[in-house]
């Protein structure tokens, strides 16, 4: 335990050795004070939470942290203090005590690790029942669209890998199998906490299928993740819609044979207009246009919702910026590199990665952990102890 004190704060990039990070070291007084304040909050809530669901929610989230804090303290009491050790005259007895202390020190370390996990979970837990996941082809023309399709496939298999429900809202493909954009609604309360780290610009480097002279191209596609708070619902009333088609005059029916199937829908309350002409059947175009309208209204409502503003701002902090390049898929070298991971951010077997299974899941988990840690450090550093400093029991 003493040894770890010697490690510097700057080693936080060594992921697996998180415990050595200074603000997150258990010897750190501020962390101790923070934990104590959580413990007190917990007991205060247990008395006062009756009937209040948001307080209950907080209580249940504090529970594992306080639980492990108390286990930690119980363990600590088992360690024989230095002065007792020094006072012991019997050599054999002292050796026994030392040995015992070593065992407890090891147990304590494990307990600290567990407690930190709980704390991390507490630090950035956010509840969004669902989210909107967008894939957009970026710079690079047809090649970027082909890449966008590959990303789309990768993420939909990832959603399946994670067992999340999703539905496709809008989708536009190109004739050579590329994807212009796609909007998906992912329905899982866990999804946001994982997918938020995937937002940003993904870059691909390869010799495209569309390239004749064999040069390597760099293209991009971007991912946007918009959390959808529970209160955002879109209801479209039939009477609010003005549906326009090009064939509105004359006798209609069997009298004419006009084929134009394009549909335009205006949502009267908001003035939003959507069109669809990608199908030959007018009814299908109308269904598509309605879906688009729904997606647009949802987006509009999301953007105006305060909760989303905050969440999106949070998601854009640091290296989670939407416009920042976060990952490179290099086909020539068969590797994928995540630019946010300082060490070991590169892995090989790109095709395996693009299957959206365990390799992607592992990387996201790693990013997840790292980001949470940063957030917890930030939280503790910003945290001010209440006026009456908690007494160190």
């Amino acid at each position: 335990m003493l040894l770890r004190k010697l490690l510097t704060a700057r080693s936080h990039h060594l992921l697996r050795r998180w415990a050595s990070t200074d603000p997150l070291c258990f010897q750190n007084e501020k962390l101790q004070a923070y934990l104590e304040s959580l413990r007190q909050e917990y007991y205060a809530l247990r008395v006062n939470a009756a009937g209040n669901s948001s307080l209950y929610a907080r209580l249940s989230r504090l529970d594992p942290v306080v639980n492990s804090l108390e286990k930690h303290r119980a363990l600590q009491r088992n360690i024989t203090p230095e002065q007792d050790l020094a006072a012991e005259k019997d050599e054999d007895m002292r050796a026994l005590m030392l040995e015992e202390n070593n065992v407890y020190a090891e147990l304590l370390r494990k307990q600290e690790e567990a407690m930190l996990q709980e704390l991390l979970a507490l630090a950035d837990h956010e509840d969004y029942p669902s989210l909107i996941f967008e894939v957009n082809a970026g710079a690079g023309g047809q090649e970027a669209m082909l890449f966008a399709q590959e990303l789309y496939d990768m993420y939909t298999s990832y959603f399946e890998h994670m067992g999340w429900e999703y539905e496709q809202y809008a989708h536009e493909t190109t004739d050579i199998g590329g994807l212009r954009y796609a909007n998906l609604l992912v329905n899982d309360p866990e999804a946001y906490n994982w997918l938020r780290y995937e937002a940003g610009v993904h870059r691909v480097q390869r010799v495209p299928a569309t390239e004749k002279s064999g040069r390597m191209h760099t293209s991009t596609a971007s991912i946007t993740v918009i959390p959808r708070p529970a209160d955002v619902q879109v209801h479209i009333a039939e009477r609010d819609l003005k549906i326009e088609t090009k064939r509105a005059s004359g006798a209609g029916g069997q009298h004419v044979n006009t084929t134009d199937s394009a549909v335009r829908i205006v949502h009267l309350p908001t003035g939003l207009a959507v069109e669809s002409q990608s199908e030959r059947s007018q009814l299908k175009n109308r269904e598509l246009a309605l879906k688009r309208l729904q997606a647009k209204l949802m987006q509009q409502q999301l953007e105006s919702s305060e909760a989303t503003k905050q969440a999106t701002r949070k998601a854009q902090q640091g290296n989670l910026n939407r416009n920042e390049k976060i990952r490179t898929y290099n086909f020539v070298q068969d590797r994928v590199t995540d630019h946010r991971v300082q060490q070991g951010g590169t892995q090989h077997n790109l095709s395996g990665f693009l299957e959206g299974g365990q390799p992607l899941s592992d990387l996201i988990e790693r990013l997840h952990l790292e980001q949470r840690k940063l957030k917890l450090v930030e939280l503790i550093e910003e945290w001010q102890p209440p006026q009456k400093a908690s007494d160190k029991s």
Partner: protein
Amino acid sequence: MLKYLARPLLTATRSATRSLCSNLSGSSTKTTTTSPTSTTGGPLIEVNQAINGWADKLKAAGIQDTEFNIKCIVSHVLNRKFNTVPDDFTQLKFSSEQLANFERFLEARCARMPLQHIIGEWDFMDITLKTAPTVFIPRPETEEFVRLVIENYRQAKHVNMLEVGCGSGAMSLSVLHALPQVEATAIERSKVATVLAWENANLLGLQDRFKVHNHTMEEDNYMPTELQDKQYDLIISNPPYVKTEEFQFLHPEVVVYENLNALDGGSDGLRVARLVFDLACRHLRPGGKLWLELGNEHPPLVKTIMNLKYQGRLNFVGSYFDQYKRERFVQLEKV
């Protein structure tokens, strides 16, 4: 044949049309089989170049939605699904054979041959149907009609449905496609349409729940003998309802190329509908429904006819609007 293609408008007679059609459909199958090889060999022409000037030609021939027409024909010539062809045709190319087909099809379109006949298929709701020159082409309003019927029967347990005059099979087959609990029987007077509807049912894999009989409905001979004492839960029909006096105002696509038997509704447009009323009296179970798609002024007329002549047999349940806010659909109930 090219002589006919080069001709301007409307002069094409019906027989000429028929031979043109068979020629077109014959060459279109040839196109689809050869296109994979011809796109790699031979000179390629940018689609964007090939379409130059055609929009104006179509306009001059009196066709409104030129972009849509061109896109339909381009995707047909390239043997691509319509919704996968980009609106701006970037990077699409024709082989010289495809270009020749493209130009022939557009010439035919300028002669006002219906687009659905030129490309040999059409989308109706969620299904794609083959079309044939003498078989009535389903209209977009009929999609709305079928949508209403489907919504009304979505919760029903089992429905035994009859369609009177099924044409290409569009209505029955899209109901079957949407609702697995429906079984459909259809009668159709045209032999060509009967064969086409059966072919479409097989293409869509719906042949197990669909039967079609070639039969001409007449007074006191409403149903084929084998169905003489069958009763149904639901009868649907889009009978001919164009008044004879309105024929002079029809579009050339309709009057020159479509089967007038599928359109002619007599002096008030309800000649065939009346036969359907009588058929429904005999072949609907009590409480069973008859849904009809008719012309603009018909629903109030039908209501009057029900009250005057069918009291105690058929009740007028309600009328409904198509997507253009025209009151055109009626629901009747067997007492």
